[in-house]
Symmetry: C2
Subunit: 111 residues, 2 copies
DNA sequence: TTCCACATGTCGCCAGTCTACATGTAGGCT
DNA sequence: AGCCTACATGTAGACTGGCGACATGTGGAA
């Protein structure tokens, strides 16, 4: 799976996966894959820039850590990020219900 | 509503709205708006090029008609378009379930 | 020493959506 | 007559953001 249809929903995904625990980029990618049952394979070229963008607008903060000799940049939700997540969730509801309403197969109208 | 998050789902919307009856561009825009309960306002600059693209790849055919002195280009689903619609529908299912799985608020894990 | 998993990052491409503009008819209202 | 709105189609160009490909480096196992 995984067309470029994710467009516009990446923020929601990233914020959601960071809701309960701070994670670093690589772990975020794995978390997305696991949570979606393997359906989502988000490439690094998408995730890292997106994380930086979310930090730039204040929805995330980051901190470096070294674990086992590996450098990680760990991201954490801010209050603003939490609010944004709530907004993304309701936007997602509206979005799916709107598209779903159009897409749902309706029986051929019979007189 | 209506961000550019429609990206990648326009084809599905257009094919779906044409499933049971041929329509012309202007009517398609109105149909999308009605079916979505007013949520979708797709601009002409999106719809007309998209229709032409779908015709180019063989999912639609078009024919001119004059109704009340107005020229209309009426689009109709082809067999290929019907197949594409089925594909779009199942892709939409997969898509929403994948994103939904990530987005759904999960309770804070407590020991 | 080779290879893979871990880990982060950038650059440039590109598809597709949107804004704004251009064009024209029909019909109602004043 | 003149104006406005709904109907109807279309294009050009800007913008956006996800993606593929590349670059870099560590730790550990074979």
């Amino acid at each position: 799976m995984n067309t470029d249809a994710l467009r516009g929903h990446m923020d929601a995904l990233l914020l959601s996966v960071l809701e309960h625990e701070p994670l670093h980029g690589y772990a975020i990618i794995e978390a997305l894959q696991q949570r979606s049952g393997g359906a989502l394979s988000v490439p690094t070229g998408t995730v890292y820039p997106a994380l930086r963008r979310l930090e730039r607008v204040g929805h995330l903060t980051s901190a470096w850590a070294t674990v086992g000799g590996r450098k990680r940049r760990t991201y954490r939700l801010t209050a603003s990020g939490r609010a944004a997540l709530a907004g993304e969730r309701s936007a997602w509801q509206e979005f799916t219900s709107a598209i779903g309403a159009v897409l749902s197969p309706r029986p051929q109208h019979d007189a």
